[in-house]
Every structure is written in C-alpha cells, then in structure tokens.
C-alpha cells in the first residue's frame, strides 16, 4: 500500500511539474527560443494570484480568470514588441533579451514585494480524502485537476482550432506556413501569450503548494528545463509524462535524493534518446 501511496503522490506532484514545463516546451518547440525568463513569469503569476485573491475576496483559483488573460496579453506584447525584434538579429540576441527580462522581472518583484517568502493560503484550509488505506490531500487533488484541465485545453486548442493548427505548422516549417498565409510574427506572439498564460496557472499552483519569493524563478526554470528535455520539446503528452517521472523521483528520493535522481534520469534520456521521450 505504501508503494501505491508513493505513486499517487508522485503523479499528483508530477502534474504540477509538467505545468511548470509546458509553456517553456511550447516556446522551444514553436518559436525555437530558450525563454530564460520563464521561471520569473511563473513567479509573477504566483504574485498576481497572491495579491488578487484577498484584494477581490475571491477563491485563489478564481484569480485565474484575471491572471490568465493578463499574462497572455503580456506575453503577446513582449514577443511582438521586444523578443520578436531581437529574433530578427539572430538567436543569441533574443536569448539575451529573455535573460535581461528575467533579471528585470526578478529585481522588479524584489522591489515591489520584498524578499519575504509568500504563500497562497486557501480559505477553507486543506483536508484529506481517505480511499481505503490511501490518503489523498484535497490540495493535491485540486492541483491535479487544474493541471489536467490546462493540458487538455492546450491540446484541444493546438489540435482543433485554425490558430492552433497554424502554431503547429509554424513549428514544423515556418517558410511553408508563411506560404500558406500564416503571419509568423503574430503566431509567435500568440504562442508566447499562451506560454505566459500557462505560467499564470503554474504560478497559482506553486503558490498554493509551496512558498516562493522573487528569486524562486531560477529553480522553476531548472525544473522546466528538465521536464522539457526528458519529455521532448513541443510535446504536451511528453511534458506530462516527464513531469510525472520527475514527480515520482522527488517523492521516492525525498528532499535529499529527489533532485539527484531526476538529474540522473535526465542524463540517461540525453544519452539514450536525445530528442526526449516524445520528441519527433
């Protein structure tokens, strides 16, 4: 029964890790850009939810109704006005711009929110559900549901809408996409918007699960990297599976062995299947 408990916890936790990685994976797969500011965007999403929930007197989950569109807009504008322009000069300038954004965001949040650790507290606290001898915390169940809904929404968007198809087409061959009438700059901006919207959701989740502060972004970025490389960039099912593997490693290894186990896993994937488990 202990094993089942560990697996359940790993899967639940893994979904949050997948959520950290999915936006990063999209940008790598579609815009072909390593977004070094992705961790800071997650932290920004967490702060937005932390501030908005008590301010509006609503349940933290409901803040997504505001933070998701807001972060989408921010991503769209950043890509359209800033990162996209740098990309015209080559990949390195764009990479540097995202690094600059990460520094600016981190220091900006430090100025604004100070260095104190923050946490998003839930109004009616947390309980557990008893399933036979298994114990599942309602918080974990909630995070699990949020993550699955986000992944499903992203999958449906990419698979069935014209814009989603255009995003996948651009990822495959940007020239041919342009020849099919796709405005590549706009598609990149939408992709960045969606990535930041996913960061808003990820921010809420990490804020509810753990504590965070303005400098937490780099550790989220690292987790996102590991998840993306194991799963294969641009693949949502890959991100999900990689997140769960990462989650299991954390639960099995605990605080002292969790990270080393996941890095060994990362190394093995890099050696055996450099494209990632679901990469094509």
């Amino acid at each position: 029964m202990y094993v089942a408990q560990v697996i359940i916890n790993g899967i639940m936790l893994g979904n949050v890790y997948a959520l950290l990685g999915v936006g990063m994976s999209m940008i790598l797969g579609i815009v072909k850009l390593t977004n070094l500011a992705h961790g800071e965007f997650i932290v920004l999403g967490a702060y937005l939810s932390t501030v908005l929930a008590p301010l509006l007197g609503i349940h933290p989950i409901l803040t997504l109704l505001i933070t998701v569109p807001l972060m989408f807009l921010l991503g769209y504008l950043l890509q359209y006005l800033l990162i996209g322009r740098a990309m015209k000069k080559g990949n390195e300038p764009a990479l540097l711009v995202t690094f600059g954004l990460s520094v600016i965001l981190q220091d900006g949040m430090l100025m604004f929110f100070l260095a104190d650790s923050q946490h998003i507290s839930l109004p009616n606290g947390m309980g557990t559900i008893q399933l036979g001898s298994l114990e599942i915390s309602t918080l974990h169940l909630m995070l699990f549901a949020i993550s699955l809904v986000t992944m499903a929404a992203l999958t449906v968007f990419l698979k069935y809408t014209y814009t989603g198809k255009a995003i996948r087409a651009t990822a495959d061959d940007a020239d041919v996409a342009a020849l099919s009438g796709v405005n590549i700059g706009r598609i990149y901006a939408i992709a960045m918007g969606v990535a930041l919207a996913s960061a808003a959701v990820a921010g809420l989740c990490v804020g509810m699960k753990w504590t965070y502060d303005p400098s937490a972004g780099s550790s989220y970025l690292l987790i996102a990297f590991v998840v993306v490389v194991i799963g294969g960039m641009g693949s949502i099912p890959g991100t999900l599976v990689a997140g769960i593997l990462f989650g299991l490693a954390q639960v099995i290894g605990g605080a002292s062995y969790g990270l080393p186990i996941s890095y060994v896993l990362l190394l093995i994937v890099l050696i055996v299947r450099p494209k990632g488990l679901f990469g094509k």
């Binding site: 014209y162 198809k165 087409a169 061959d173 342009a178 099919s180 094509k280």
Partner: protein
C-alpha cells in the same frame, strides 16, 4: 500588357554582393501556363521566391492583379491569390495529410469554402483521400508533392508557382502530377508558372516559356513556335 495577371518589372534580387536576379521582366496572363526554364543556379527559384515574398528584392516591382505587391510579406501575397509550391514537396511533417491541406485554407477568404475545396482536392488526388490521418512525414516523395500542391490549391489561388516539382520523383509519378496540373489549369483557369530543368517537358506542357541564365531572361516566346535546338542553345548559353 498592362492587364497581365502577374507582371514583374526590372526585378533585382541577390544574396549580399551576389546578384541572383538581374533586371528581370516577366508577364503572366490569366489562364496561361508559363515555363521558367534554366540550369541550376540560374536564379529561377530566387526570382520566384522574390515574387512570392519569401525574399526581398533590391530593386524593381511586382504587380499582381494590377496591384503593387513588391513590399508585401509572403502571407499577405498568398491572401491576394498567388501561391508558391516550394521545391521538394515541403510539408508539415508532424501533421496529418488532412491538417496539412486545411492549413492551405488558413487564408480568410478561403476558409468559408474550405469543405468544398477539400472535396475537390481529394477528387483530384484520390490517393490522398485514402490517407487523410497519416502524418505527412510518413509519405513517399510523390505523395508529399501532392500534399504540397493540394495545400496550395486550398487557398483557391488565381496563380500558382511550381518550383521543380519533378525533382527526385519517378517518371510515372511526374507524368501523373503534370496531368493534374494541366487539369487545374483547365478547370479553374488558374495561371501557372512551372520552374523546370527538363526542356522537352517544359516546352510540351506550356503556352509560353522564359529561359533564365545567370540571373537574366535570355529568351522568351510562345512554346509552340520555338524549335528545340534554339531552346537548347539558349538554355546552355552557347
């Protein structure tokens, strides 16, 4: 002359200091098949990429339906009704055949009739109808070329440019694809520009021809009025 569907005036294009397209003039009438013939490196692809908006010209103008499209990016030019089928049957490898075709109707004006156009494309290429859900990356070269042509057709273009569609394909497949192109031209009155290296085939299927050499058009005229010896000499520049 001024009512030509596509008109290229004094077009220059290149890469850095290298001039690939040198003062080219070209006119394509509605419903006409034009063969653009030339050896490797003559500048055919650069010329057509410049016309389609993938490459920026250094001087000159391109008019389509009487409108100056010189400065427009590729996606805006497709919306005007000019489609390029790039070399090598380039497809969206990870997407299904059907999604590849549907991407062709991404242009707003084509979305309304996407269903009917899709039926038409499947009628033209029955092979594709059998493999709608297969990823395009798993297809043979000829099938990928059909997907690429189908995708361009989905935008309901008034003019289509085919960049060396016969490259690397078996003769039987090439014949089949050329028959389809003739059918597109006949049924939809679509103007067609064929980039070709095969002089004989190009002469046979086209109404007019242009021979390109070192970035210039060295000979052009009616395909039925030229003897193959003159054509061959101009092709090799002797």
């Amino acid at each position: 002359m001024s009512d030509a569907l596509l008109r290229v005036e004094n077009l220059h294009a290149g890469y850095g200091d290298f001039v690939a397209v040198d003062a080219v003039n070209l006119a394509v009438e509605k419903g006409e098949i034009v063969a653009l013939i030339g050896i490797n490196g003559a500048g055919k692809t650069t010329l057509m990429h410049t016309v389609a908006g993938l490459h920026k010209p250094t001087a000159g103008n391109v008019f389509f339906k009487g409108e100056d499209i010189t400065a427009l990016p590729a996606d805006k030019i497709v919306q005007k009704g000019l489609s390029l089928v790039p070399q090598g049957g380039r497809c969206f490898q990870r997407m299904s055949v059907q999604d590849n075709l549907l991407m062709g109707s991404y242009v707003r004006s084509a979305r309304k009739n996407a269903k009917q156009t899709l039926e038409r494309v499947y009628e033209l290429f029955p092979d594709l109808a059998q493999m709608k859900q297969r990823p395009a990356g798993n297809l043979s070269g000829g099938q990928r070329q059909m997907v690429a042509i189908g995708r361009a057709l989905m935008a309901a273009p008034a003019c289509m440019i085919f960049d060396e569609i016969s490259l690397g394909l078996a003769p039987a497949v090439i014949n089949d694809i050329y028959r389809k192109i003739a059918r597109i031209n006949e049924e939809e009155h679509t103007s067609i520009i064929l980039i070709e290296q095969d002089i004989r085939r190009a002469q046979k299927v086209s109404d007019t021809f242009c021979i390109m050499l070192k970035g210039k058009i060295v000979l052009s005229g009616k395909s039925s009025e030229i003897d193959s010896e003159t054509l061959k000499k101009a092709y090799f520049g002797i």
